[in-house]
Amino acid sequence: MSVARWEQVAELFADVLELPHDEREAFLMARTTGDPALGADVRRLLAADAAAGPAFPAPLDDRVLRAAAQNVDAVPERVGPWRLLEEIGRGGMGRVFLAERVDGHFEQRAAVKLLKRGMDTDAIVERFRRERQILAALEHPNIARLLDGGVADDGRPFLVMPFVDGTPVTAFADAQRLSIEARLALFRTICFAVEHAHRNLIVHRDLKPSNILVTTDGRPMLLDFGIAKLLTADGDGVDAPTEAGLRMLTPEYAAPEQFGGGPITTSTDVYGLGAVLYELLCGERPRTNGMAPDAEPPTLTAVAERASAAIATSRGTDPTRLRRRLDGDLETIVATALRTEPARRYASVGALREDLERHTMQLPVLARPDSTGYRVSRFVRRHRAAAIAGATIVGLVLAFAITAGVQASRIRRQAVALAVERDRAQREAAAAEQVSNYLVGVFELADPTRSGLGDSITARELLARGAERAELDLAGQPSLAARMIGVIAQAYYNLGQRAGAERLVTRARALHRGDPHADPAGAVPLLRQLMRTQLARGATTDAVAAIEEGISIQSRIDPAGEQMVLLLADRADAQHAAGNRTTTLAAVDSALALADRLTTDAAQSRTVLRRLASVLSYTDDSLRTERVYARSLAAEALADGPRSVGVASTLVGWGKARQKLKDLRGADSLLRLALDIQHEREPRSLREASMLTDVATVAVSQGRFRVADSLVRIVIDIQRERLGEEHRTVASSYATLAAVLQRSGRAAEAIPYFERSIAYHQRTGDDPKYVPVAEWRMAEALREAGRTREALAAFRRSLAGHEAQFAPEYILTANVRRDFGRLLQQQGRAAEAEPMLRRAVEVLAKRWGDGDARVDQARLPLGRALLALGRRNEATTMLAGVHERLTRTRKPDDPVLRDARAALDELQRARAR
């Protein structure tokens, strides 16, 4: 049927209606002969028409409209189980209220979004019902998920989400005067949250600063995830927006495809994030209202060019620096995120975040054609001369790796290894059975049904029981038991259980010694292990004894082999720890000399080269250090390839060596090369975090605090991801960040990080010595930030802690007294300051010598305190002495000397009065 039934009825009805009354019936009869039902329908309508009369429907009454206009916007007291408390926001889709649950089932405050009238209630509620499962699954610490939704009594749809007490991210960043680095760090956290949602196949669609609030403790929270889709997606929930979606848009942040009705994908959020980042960085929105959707926004530098001083100030910088900072990578990254065509943007939010991280790590960013030329040009631009050295090294290593001779030696080495392996296999065939039985026994312990330990057995318990059983199960083979226990001891050591490790190694050594059939060579690794654990607790005499015993055993077995080189290197470690410089250097020399005489294969042993490189750090011999590192690098590259983790860790060692030799630029270049490899191999690994810390340390020595700041923030990010918040390593990275901030003159920002780090140690108590030292540094930061009262309290706590934890003459305690005393004196509390400073001077003089400048730095405030106490003669003698000594040793414009002069002037004025 081509014409709908209603149209037939309507057609006929309208025709009939145009006829005079007396002609209607005949006409109808004629037209409906074959379809009596049609006739009945039309007759029914005709009757209704007659009954209705011309006044139906009467026009809308004035009073109705008045009433409607007046009460249409009234707020219901409650919606669903939520009582509305106060309006907290108003936006494109409606009004937002603070609300609490009426049923009081649980304390919960929420934000209730009461949608505008005029929105399609039924469709929204239906979509909510459908999407609810998905949205409820979106659990993430930085996402405020949808809690509830429904229809209010007055017919308006509402949505409920947790109430977030926060400030839009851009406003927060400005109010806190966050630097570009801190902004990038904050933005990274936001990216992670969006990535999480994307993994759950939820696209936000409406990312903008007002949907990203930052709470007072600095946590960003994303609001309205998936809400845009609830309100705009078409009926079948397919990711294609109806044009109704348009009205929800915030034009300044919406992606071009959202205007044109293109498909909405995760790429839409990449754009939204790009827009937020744009504003965070330069202070303006990428698009102004009315700009064409597909117009490219002005570049960051173009905006920064005309940026006001206020915008720069709120980023802790000035306009020139800001423009320079945004030029290059950041501009490119933001532009890539904001490209009109989704396909040309970053493929994912993760890719955007990664590129920002690469930028922060000063690795080449991917946000432009990743040509080798660009990488090289960037590297050279950043590192200039040092980069050439780095490139040369890599080139040499590669050349080395492909020489035929090396290939041959590798084959030879493999053949030897096979023969050794075969012998060993025969020798230990008997032992193998016993060992495997033992291992089965240990792992049965982990089986709750067998061990009777429940399912809570930890790695540590397993190790402890493994050690016990090794002695029982391998009772007939004490030297084998010793080896097993040695392995377990190593695991203890790696877990940071130093005391346990030492106890086990000692036991292993005793077992081995007690076995008349034991291979004497088996004692050497145990002794080396023992020495390491003893060094860790500072027992240098024991360590020296252990390693000397090892050397004497080894010299009877094979005095000129690889193992001996390692032992000599250990001797250098032990002697260095014991503070014997001459013996240390002698040990290093003998290790190197012996290594030079090793066979080619052994000389290329990675273990040997690593140990040699490490002990060379006790010398200032840059030539030999460089040579060993070059060989070590070649060995690593040969074994696992030129961009292996081994190469990276060698580069780290080399970089640190350069740092020690004060070649900071070289160090930076090598460390960054290492980082580049590590990042490629294991992105976001703990090892990468540790390399980043190394790069940051160099940056601090170079005075590049901005770089250090952002690197440490990434370090913390990675460590938190891998280790969780409650971890010693994270706590110490917080302290590092605090130190970086303090050194760059941002004491106020440093304080919260000191606090976090201290709080961790107070909670766990695993390093009681840490807290007083950290509190001293925090006290300094508090003082610099002008928070004097808190600074005094922190000094007091620190001093009490020092007195409890350290020996009375401990040098750092003297430093605490010096700084505490100085602050007390500056605060006019000379009577308290005087004895404290006097004690500091006493200890410092004993340590550094009476005339040392470090002592005079404590005498200065002491002199002032004496002056304030009216003891002018003492003050005069002290300050004149300080001034006289400093004049001899310092340049005229030295700040300490100037301070001494100022103190003398104060004295003169006091005398003149």
Partner: protein, 199 residues
Amino acid sequence: MTGTSAEGITALLLDIDTRPDATADVSLLLPLVYDQLREMARRRLRHEVGALTLTPTELVHEAWLRLAGSTSITDRGRAYFFAAAAQAMRRIVVDHARRRGRDKRGGGLVAVTLDDALVLSDGGEDALLELDEALVQLASVAERPARVVECRFYGGLDIEETALALGITTRTVNRDWSYARAWLYDRLRADRTAGGDTA
């Protein structure tokens, strides 16, 4: 009338004018027009001097004049606006009626005679709701006549404006109007009888 909604409406109308291939989805414009009409109605009430009446026709046309005064919107945009305005007025009225109806709930439904369905005076909110429900039913069988009622009854548009808004001829408007009127009256009468039986 808030500045933003007026700007938004103008932008959307200009957009639909310049993109002949774009579909004029009324739901896009609806919330903006809704806000605008409601604000205008309120403003009128606030500045009310004497017996100033409030009718859909006045409201919708005043809103239109404000928009069209400053820009050159063509008939296409005008049709789009009228269609949205009629729907917005319908929602304003129905939302209000629904609210009133709920307020009265609990006190029992006020008895309404059939005549009340025809004269929508104070207390006629239930009748308004019934009419709206009937209109929803009509739309499910005969979409176009229902739209005609929306334009004429709620939007206060005349025959020609309705034809423009819906893109049909005035003759069709007239014939659809007659049909819808009869259909609705018939439906309301049937419901009323059924309701009376059970009461």
